[in-house]
Amino acid sequence: MALDWKTLEAFAEHLENAELERRAITKITDDCPDLSWEEAYAIQDCIRARKVARGVRITGLKMGLTSLAKMTQMGVEDPIHGFITDYGMVPDGGEIAMDALIHPKVEAEVGFVLKRPLSGPGVDIDMVLAATDRIVPAVEVIDSRYRDFRFDLKSVIADNTSAARYVVGSSTTPFAASDLHRLNVVLEKNGSVVAEGVGATVLGHPAASVAMLANMLGRKGEGWEVPAEALILTGGITEAVPVARGDWIDVRYKDFGSVSLHFV
C-alpha cells in the first residue's frame, strides 16, 4: 500500500465524522486519486476499528453492487462489502430520525444468518445453503456520506458502502432459502408501489451474494470469514428509493413476510 497507516486513519476519521456529524463531504478519491481497492477497504477497516474501540458491536456484514448488469457496466468482477452495527439496527415498524441521516434511501433485501462460519476460496451457493441457519426479510437504509451522491466505487468502499440503518422483518413465514431467486418483493411508500423486484436481481440468487462475500474475505487474508450468527445483508432486490421525513415504507415479500419503517 502506498498510503501509510496515519493517512488511512485520517481518511477514516474524516469519513466517520461525516457520518456522526451528519455532514456531506466530497469523495475520498478527490483527495487521493490513486487510492487502491486495498486502501479503500483499509479505510473501511479503520472506521470499523474506531467504532469497536468505542464499544460499538458489529452485528453483521453487507453486500453492495450485487447486480451483474451494474458490475459489467462498471467493469468490475466483484461486488463490494461493508459492515453493519448495533446502533444501525431499527426494530420492524420502528422510527428512523431523519435528523441523524444525510440523504437516506431504502432498498429491500434478504438477510442470511449462518450456523457456521464460511471462508473462501471455493464457496458456492450450495455450501451457503447448507451452512444457512435462517433467512429474514430485511430493509436497508443507506446513506452515502458523499455530497449529491457523487462518488466512485472506491470512495463508496471507504465509506463502508453507505451503510446506515437496517430493519429485519418480525412477521415472517417459513420460506425455502433455495427458492430466494424467485422471491417477489414490492416496496410501497405511503401506500403506493414505488419499486419492485425479484430475488434473482441479486447475483442470480441471494445465496450467491453470501458465497461471493466468503470468497472475497477468504482472499483478503487469514482470519477473515463470514461469521456465524451474524446478519448478512445480501444486496438490493429493489432499486434504492429516496425517502423524506414523514414517509412510511412498507415492504412486502411474497409468502415470506413484510417489513415497515417510518421516517420522522
Binding site: 447486480s67 451483474l68 448488469a69 459489467t72 424467485r182 422471491l183 417477489n184 418483493v185 414490492v186 403506493s192 408501489v193 414505488v194 419499486a195 419492485e196 423486484g197 425479484v198 434473482a200 436481481t201 442470480g204 432486490i237 411474497k254
Partner: protein, 260 residues
Amino acid sequence: MLSEEDRRKGAELLLQAERERKPIPQLSKTFPDIEIEDAYRIQDYWAQARIAAGARVAGHKIGLTSRAMQLASKMTEPDYGRILDDAFYNDGARIPASRFIKPRLEVELAFIMGEDLAGPGVRIYDVLRATEFVVPALEVIDYRTEVPRAITDTIADNAAFGSIVVGGRPVRPFDVDLRWVGATLSQNGIIEETGVSAGIMGHPAAGIAWLVNKLHVVGTGLEKGQIVLAGSFTRPVDITAGDIIQVDYGPLGAIGVSFI
C-alpha cells in the same frame, strides 16, 4: 389546441417516419400549441391511415403505468395506444431490429378479453369478469420522433408502441394472484431488470379499468377477443441487433426472442 389540418399533418409526419425508419422532429416542436387531446387525435388519424392500408386493430397498449414513469413525464395518469395486427411476434421469434428506429423492450402481462367491456365506472373487478386469459407478453417500444419527448409526442406516436411478443403460460384471471407475477429479464445472459406486476398501479387490471373508462369518453370500449398490454413492470431495456432476450415469469413460464 391544433387545427384538424395540423393534426392530420402530424399523423402524416409520423407515417413518413415509420416508412422511412427515420425519426421526425418532435411534434411538440413542430406544433408548439399541441395538447394531449390533439395528440390522441393525431394517433387516431395515424391509425385510420394504417387501417385504410390494410391493418386491423387487435387491441390496445397502456403506457406510463408506474408512478416513476408518470413522475418522469409529469403525468398523473397512464396513456394508451393501439396494437395493430401486423405487430405480433411469437415466442422464440427472430425479430429484425431494423424494423424499429430506437427499440427498447419492456416486460408486461397481456389481457385477452372474453367479453366486450365499456365504461364509464369500470373497476378492477369488472375487468377481471370480462377477462378470458392473462398471458406473459413483451412489448418493443419505439420512437418515431426525436428525443427528448414531451408526453404529447409519445401519445401522438401511438404511445411508443412497436411490437408485441406473447408467450408463456396463459392463465385465467383467478388462477394466480395477478399482483404477484414476478419476472426476470436477461439480456445476453445477464439479468438486467426484474419486476413484480403490482408495480403496475398496484394491480395489472387497474390500468385496463382506466383504459376502458378513457375509451368511453371517445365513444369506444374493448371488444371480445381483443388483447390489452397492461403496462410495463420493468424499466425499458435498450435493444440492438444481436441481442438475445430471455424473460422468466416463474410459474407463468418464459418468453425468449432474439434480435437480428
